[in-house]
Symmetry: none
Subunit: 530 residues, 2 copies
């Protein structure tokens, strides 16, 4: 294992993201996930400046048993003209009990004079005084040199002096921050190389993604001599976000051979990235490198046949190293090969050598192509594809219930909000059931009515939740006469699946997708028809 | 202006993205946006391999008037053992009429032998033969060297030979593709530098984002001598997506001083990125560099006050260069100036010097912001904006009719198609009218019923036709509880206009947009209220 620091600031800088709001409980949950992943340092927040963060450190001391990570408290150097040993904010950092204290300090003359409004000399004194005081109190000290790269461009000597002062006062690491995120890799490499040579200090890197280069900038800094990398899970952060720590770690470990996490922990990164997304309630980004749900998904039919021959021809690394999976997307570009692979992925081993299996594959391919001509898109609806497959395999799809009819009424009076009411009539478990449901929209009402109607025969569906609903009008040239495609994502609490409906009538398309999602939920739960 | 090629492949490689499914009309709409942005080349698809793409090129020839861009057709080299002049797929490329033909070819020995299943020599012959044939037919030819970087690692000599053969046969550009997306910038720089030196060919770069470095890899290739950059708008593409062309262009132009787009076009990139997202129906990524809604959004706090002192201390560049806004929020695109301009454009000359006009502008800005917070987007709905403006200008919007109530019923029995029936009650020309309309969908039925109800008072609306209907679920985290945005485009035979409705209930949103579209139609026709 290398001694390069993996320093996570999801709980502090990541929490700056627009719309992201973490409770103390959220922060504790994320911290345990990060510890399980095996990061070296977890920056918990700014105790003293933010009551929530003060509480986080208090509860972390009792509730959080960290096995791998060291907790870091973030805070500023003491105020201008004051003293570190009497500065209340510095005292709050000590009171947090965090073994590592990361001080943010100015290294940009413009920021010292125009934002901090003090002298260049006093700013250096604030660094010297605060670092020495905390070291004397027995804490490890890291320093975040804010706006370092812009500061270096404005006044190289002063920027370097700030680094030297911090190092001489006992700061273990000085992290150079591209606070405004405007840097590109070549510049980051030059500056880091110069700072390492000119100061001899241990240098870290903290990047933002404003040029789309946060990951590459972090890689460039490490190549130039940085031995401490900061980032956030899922690249959370202000504006365009921070460097995605999981991507940086995977690149360094799998592409550069720098072992930062034990391999069995790196294999947890996909699961942990999604678990943390559940806590932050920020929908996971499907195109996220390494851990995204699409990161190893293949669509093009021309690839699929070759992938059968040799998967390594079409993936840059084996997804199992990060706990992700190769997925075949069935689409109108798909050939028999991708259907065969997809079926195998779903646990149906159809052997093209076997005559019956070959016939099944051909049937499935026909219905996929026929349905996609009518507007279906199975690459976005795995569950509907599995149901289609099961319908073509004898006994693979039980007949759970029959729909006799459904009706939905929506009305509005004057300026009042519209109300929707749905009535469905189904046969399940030998009973004919008629149920009515209300909703703030017609699909919502149909969803409620269908659940009510099925709940007595299949209580299993009660905990299914409709979590996403997408509508696309196809062939829109005909306006409301166009065909409508509806995609519904349903969750059973642990996993989720997407079903599809296509019809001229948007409510019919929605109804079909709803029925598919309930049916798939019952298949998934291994329920026998009643 | 540099002669570096900006080559967009949104319509071909971008369309490989999971869940992204473009109609021919979508592709034509995106192509005009790209042309307006000023890209040099638009790769439209693979005519011959995909009927939809064949139709795209046919319709592009008549419907698409490109001012800046050149259209490129993508396709493969002729099949092994065949001849280019008799290969049906090569013929389809010629038939597309595209002035540029981009051939994908193998340069990786493993892919030639295991995927293409032919000899290394025959693969080179396929390149030579196909390029020469297309050149002889008077087309410009670009070549995408698939899996080039992996191929170079496996067998440098063969990879270089493939480039030489293509160049000697007349290929203008050989684009080196990191097809599996596993490269990092340092490696890309080394390889491109070597290829440029060893072959003397004009080299292009095509990157995917599997290591989170697609943008940085493209930048590194240009620094190493590549003079042709491929990418997609919003980084659409298979797996983790392609290099985000807008980010690459902004980086090269604003950070490296390479002028790729006229500055006034670069200033359209934020608007165009969002307009294209409306077509693809892929929700815009708020953290997207340069054009994302959060890209220049600062969370209140530590920064806010200092930003007032000196914005440049806290942003890496002035957002106006890409048409973005530091204060811009997802829901808040409009500034007073743009409203003033828009009003003038609509024939309302509101003078900010005049007190009443200033008050009107402030009122309009308030209602725009308030409505956009609720999910309205007036960029896409000019007619609704004009109605909003008229409501704030005395006497500018007559009261044509009042809606008392509306109701729509949709039902289906067994496997029959669903039927919708709508009843609306309105007051127009002093009369109370109750009318019922049927349709193959609820919106269709509401449209018919509303026309019937208004036709006696306003026969002018009879010739209005609803020509497009778009639905977008906002805040999809709540599934069917989410807010729905409906855009309706209506035509009077000579021109068309778009109106918007936003509500929790999809039918209420649709109804609001329908009422707006009829109202605007009456304003447009200069009808007096009856």
């Amino acid at each position: 294992m290398t001694d390069l620091h993996v320093y996570d600031t999801t709980l502090r800088d990541g929490a700056q993201q627009e719309g992201l709001n973490l409770s103390v409980a959220d922060k504790l949950a994320i911290a345990s996930h990060l510890d399980e992943l095996g990061v070296g340092y977890i920056e918990g927040g700014w105790p003293g400046a933010n009551p929530k963060d003060t509480e986080f450190f208090a509860r972390a001391a009792t509730d959080l048993r960290l096995r791998n990570a060291t907790l870091a408290a973030f805070g500023a150097t003491r105020r201008a003209g004051g003293r570190a040993d009497t500065d209340p904010l510095v005292a709050a950092l000590l009171a947090s009990g965090a073994p590592v204290i990361t001080l943010v300090a100015k290294s940009h003359t413009g920021h010292v004079e125009r934002a901090l409004r003090t002298t260049l000399e006093e700013n250096l004194e604030m660094i010297r005084d605060t670092v020495s005081f905390l070291r004397a109190e027995g804490r490890r000290v890291f320093l975040d040199a804010e706006h370092f790269f812009d500061g270096y461009t404005t006044d190289r000597d002063y920027a370097l002096e700030a680094v030297r002062v911090a190092a001489e006062a006992g700061a273990e690491v000085i992290a150079l921050c591209d606070t405004n995120g405007g840097m590109l890799p070549d510049r980051v490499a030059d500056v880091v190389h110069d700072v390492v040579g000119a100061t001899g200090a241990r240098i870290g890197i903290h990047c933002h993604n404003d040029t789309g280069c946060a990951v590459a900038n972090s890689m460039a800094a490490v190549a130039a001599g940085a031995t401490h990398v900061q980032g956030t899970v899922n690249g959370y952060g202000e504006r365009t976000g921070n460097a995605d720590l999981l991507t940086v770690v995977a690149n360094l470990q799998l592409k550069k051979g720098i072992e930062l996490l034990e391999p069995h922990r790196l294999q947890e990164s996909t699961r942990i990235a999604h678990a943390i997304a559940e806590v932050t309630n920020v929908p996971p980004y499907s195109r996220q490198p390494y851990v995204g749900s699409s990161a190893f998904a293949h669509k093009a039919g021309l690839h699929a046949s070759a992938i059968k021959v040799d998967p390594d021809l079409y993936q840059h690394m084996d997804p199992k190293h990060v706990g992700n999976d190769m997925r075949m997307l069935v689409s109108d570009m798909a050939g028999r090969a991708s259907i065969e692979l997809k079926s195998r992925e779903l646990g149906f081993d159809l052997d093209p050598g076997d005559e019956n299996d070959r016939a099944t594959l051909a049937r499935v391919l026909r219905s996929v192509k026929e349905k996609e001509l009518r507007g279906y898109t199975f690459d976005a609806a795995d569950a509907s594809f599995e149901l289609l497959l099961r319908r073509d395999i004898d006994g693979a799809l039980p007949d759970f219930f029959d729909v006799e009819s459904w009706r939905v009424i929506t009305d509005a009076r004057g300026d009042d909000d519209a109300l929707s009411e749905a009535t469905v009539k189904v046969r399940a478990a030998g009973e004919r059931v008629v149920q009515t449901g209300e909703g703030n929209g017609p699909v919502n009402a149909l969803d409620h009515a269908l659940r009510l109607a099925l709940s007595s025969a299949y209580p299993e569906i009660s905990h299914l939740e409709l979590i996403d609903y997408k509508v696309r009008i196809l062939d829109a040239a005909h306006g409301t006469d166009a065909v409508t495609r509806v995609l519904i994502e349903t969750s059973d609490g642990t996993t989720s699946w997407t079903t599809i409906g296509v019809a001229a009538n948007i409510l019919e398309a929605s109804w079909d997708a709803l029925v598919e999602s309930m049916t798939y939920g019952l298949v998934r739960a291994g329920v026998a028809p009643r």
